[in-house]
Amino acid sequence: MASAESRARFAVPAEVGTHSSDGSGHDLTGLALAARTRDPGAMRRFLEGIAPSVRNVCRGVLGSACVDLEDTVQECLIDILRALPNYRFEGAIVHYTNRIALRASIAARKRARGREQRLRSLAEQACLPNVAGSDDTLPSFWLVRDIIDELSAVQAETVLMRMVLGCSVEEIAMATQVPVNTTKSRLRLAKDYLRRRLDGESVDWRGRA
């Protein structure tokens, strides 16, 4: 079952095909069509329309205090502009852009993973609070995110769409263009792995002693 609240959160400023929140009267799909012509005004309005949802996706994946957040948002917007000619108007444009943003955010997280781990180990050695750029110190979501990074690309994408973006199994199946049962299977496998790893960790991710 889709969460209406999560849909609203990640489909800002408006649902697909409806008017944008700025009241300009342009729907995002129409703006996407205009932006494909490289018209500067249309590109700007389109990006301004999708930027909040892209930012939320990046925040959900990277954490709101991640130092790379702004860079990642910009990268996502550029990736979306580059991928716009490939949009076939088959699904909602916001789902399309969110998926691009999700992949770019996962890639950015993986790139920053080594640096984050080094910072974390330094902080532990110096008995300092977490300086790895995460505000999720309690509970320790960095551990959960690190384990998600260990999953395969499709499983990580599925589990992040489910847990962070709050998409239902059916929505994930539609966005990733695979059968619902495949999505269920990916989610189950990912969660099983997550459970095994979390149970095997000495660190309590919940932040309890």
Partner: protein
């Protein structure tokens, strides 16, 4: 609730706060055993909080859009283009010099390849033949007329079209053999020359190689093999005919074939009166006329 089955619908409803008491109890029971679903709930709630609207959100979005549009519109030049001015000009100059060097070397190579033949002929001529005559066997008649040989020597290029594809490989083999000969590895050089003759029989390098290899074989005391090489050179209208004729006469003398030797020396003198081998030819001819018995070589040198 089974640990292996993750209650996705119940998790969604729990996030929305729609669970009844019984359902909440069942979910808590599952969460106590399944840390993955517990993490799911916690992460979803955390994301919900992180995505709450912020007062500076629109400003940040606007800035991100500005930067993205600026980066997207930028033409992607190669990285070297963004080097400081001096370094960039250095690279451009180096590129121009490289290109000019390539053109110059190509031109030089084209001019150099036909000019190698006279040098080779001179190098061959610088080694006069002086071997003891050998046992007589049979006479070998030259097939090429002298006028044709002269014509080849004076103007060879129009009548000798190059093989366009085989030329580089033939040239390479010729260079290899010459290098081996310079290092006094004569047998290996002869082997490479024979390979060249086998692979590229129609090339100029191959024709010249008959004369050079014949000379080397003669120096190694193999007059029969040398004779075959000289004959090949003369039959193909070689450019080093004087050297080939002198070498052929010497080889014949070493093999004891005096009449053929005499004929060849005479032919050399008739064809090239001013040749460097003229004095050697006259001396040998007069020696053969004075003492024909002494002029006959030993048997042991013929191979």
């Amino acid at each position: 609730m089974n640990v292996e089955v993750h209650p996705e619908e119940a998790l969604d409803r729990a996030l929305r706060g729609e669970l009844s008491g019984m359902e909440q109890q069942a979910l808590d029971q599952h969460l106590a055993a399944c840390s993955a679903c517990e993490a799911h709930l916690a992460l979803a709630r955390s994301a919900k909080e992180a995505c709450a609207p912020q007062p500076w959100g629109s400003r940040l979005d606007s800035l991100a859009v500005d930067h993205a549009l600026a980066k997207f519109g930028r033409v992607r030049w190669p990285a070297w283009f963004f080097l400081p001015g001096q370094k960039r000009w250095l690279l451009v100059t180096a590129g121009i010099l490289l290109a000019a060097g390539g053109v110059a070397s190509a031109t030089w190579w084209q001019r150099q390849s036909p000019a190698r033949e006279p040098a080779l002929s001179q190098a061959t001529a610088a080694r006069p033949a002086a071997r003891t005559p050998a046992r007589p066997r049979r006479a070998v008649a030259l097939s090429e007329p002298q006028s044709a040989l002269q014509a080849e020597l004076t103007d060879e290029r129009p009548s000798l079209p190059r093989a366009p594809r085989a030329q580089p490989s033939a040239a390479l083999l010729f260079e290899q053999a010459s290098a081996l000969r310079d290092r006094n590895r004569v047998d290996e050089a002869i082997a490479v020359f024979r390979k060249l003759q086998q692979l590229f029989p129609k090339t100029r390098e191959s024709r010249i190689s008959f004369a050079v290899a014949g000379r080397m074989l003669l120096d190694r005391g193999r007059p029969a093999q040398a004779l075959a090489q000289f004959n090949q050179h003369l039959a193909n209208g070689g450019e080093a005919s004087q050297e080939a004729l002198a070498g052929r006469a010497t080889a014949l003398g070493q093999m004891g074939r005096l009449s053929a030797e005499r004929e060849t020396w005479q032919r050399l003198l008739d064809s090239y009166p001013g040749t460097v081998y003229a004095s050697q030819a006259r001396e040998r001819l007069s020696q053969m006329r004075r003492r024909p018995q002494e002029a006959a070589p030993g048997v042991e040198n013929s191979r």
